[in-house]
């Protein structure tokens, strides 16, 4: 069975397939959120390998869906939601 990696070489350009899968997630975000809800999603070659409420859960769920013919895979993963982010975090002043 193929082995799942969440990484590639630091400082080196990432394989094109990663960006294609990330673009696929973005293009299908609304549909994916409707299907899976707000969650982490792992995608390879335009297919959803797994989802989960945490990154580790999504990767764990993906292990069983890896293509047999491949040895090492660097899939795209992201947290999918349609909610906007409100940040504006400040460090609390010491009293």
């Amino acid at each position: 069975m193929a082995k799942l990696h969440s990484s590639s070489a630091y400082g080196e350009p990432t394989p094109k397939s990663y960006f294609e899968d990330m673009a696929w997630i973005r293009a299908n975000r609304r549909h994916l959120v409707e299907q899976y809800g707000d969650c982490y999603i792992v995608v390879y070659a335009g297919k959803v390998l797994g989802v989960g409420q945490t990154r580790l859960e999504a990767f764990s769920n993906s292990e069983a869906n890896l293509p047999e013919e491949l040895s090492d895979i660097v899939p795209a993963y992201d947290y999918i939601t349609l909610k906007s982010v409100f940040t504006g975090f400040l460090r609390r002043k010491q009293s």
């Binding site: 990484s7 590639s8 990330m22 975000r29 992201d78 909610k83 940040t87 975090f89 400040l90």
Partner: protein, 135 residues
Amino acid sequence: MTRISLLISKDPVQAEVYVNFQQTDGSAHKRPAIIDTGAEISLFPLDLLSFIAFDAHSRQEIILEQAGVVGQKFTAIEVQTHIVLEDSQGNITKSIPIRAWFADTDRWILGMTDALARGILHIDMPALSSYIEIP
């Protein structure tokens, strides 16, 4: 200057950039981070600290609060680490030293200090054209 293209979205409206952390085994862990010019410091999920490289001496627990929101306080870990930014065209920056916060969040947020403030940020929403140039 290295020009890195951003990802522009209209649903939801946001700009993102691919951020890479160095893992303790020397490889990279990557994901798009939201560009947030209103954020003083970059913010990332706490679980990353279990496998990315950072200066252990810089680690300190801090309390964050959300500006203008009463009662929205939570703890975070502040560390000194490094990132590289890249895009899908093969452009990639040098390793950038960055002070960052890590907390219980699902989002990757790239803030001003040590990151966005290092370069020139260009966002043209009508044309869906955007980039950051980092020296």
